[in-house]
Symmetry: C2
Subunit: 126 residues, 2 copies
């Protein structure tokens, strides 16, 4: 079984972390066959942290975990910190396959996302 | 004339800030009539900072600036810090209309973005 682990930075605002958890829950039904398991984890400031999130996926039966950095820019967190946290989990579970996907800011869909967000003031949503 | 100002956090990695500037440049041609001016600014660690970015738009002829927070979560930066920086610019240019759009993480397109990013390991891109 494959798991998708959405990794966000983590915030001191609980509501911000809850947004990420809600996103994982929402995607659980949407990605269907490819990723029957979708979980959230955090680099810091919120639980579960990345190694714990990966271990939890394995405990629930995942044989492969794809980590998607929920980050817009390829800053230090994406380039250094997340790989280092993944390495900690792999040291605990060497038989588990853990793959690092590109950070979501690298998707060509970001342009459309910005247009969409900008529209949400024009319509008086904000 | 309307301007779209993409506001990112800013990083110590120059390449990360350059990604945001390249995004603004790329969008300049795409949003056409609605936003003939698309610029980037940063909350911290990179130039221009938000007040300077807003003032620059006005100096280039913008009568209205729509600020899109290039943030995924509604953390402290989105809820408190960006509005405070916008207020600094408005104090300098009270006649300029500055509107705050929703942060891009609030767009319903985020789900599709995550699926797209996850695919970029399956295809061996990463």
């Amino acid at each position: 079984m494959q798991a998708l682990l959405i990794v966000a930075h983590g915030s001191r605002r609980a509501s911000s972390n809850d947004e990420v958890r809600a996103l994982a829950e929402r995607l659980r039904g949407k990605l269907g066959g490819e990723y029957p398991m979708v979980e959230a984890a955090f680099l810091e400031l919120a639980e579960p942290l990345i190694p714990e999130g990966i271990v939890r996926c394995a405990e629930q039966g995942a044989e492969r975990v794809t980590v998607v950095p929920y980050f817009l820019a390829a800053g230090r967190h994406v380039v250094e910190d997340i790989p280092a946290e993944i390495a900690k989990a792999k040291a605990q579970l060497p038989q588990l396959e853990v793959r690092l996907a590109q950070h979501i800011g690298a998707s060509s869909m970001v342009d459309a996302l910005i247009s969409d967000a900008a529209r949400c003031v024009a319509d008086g949503v904000d």
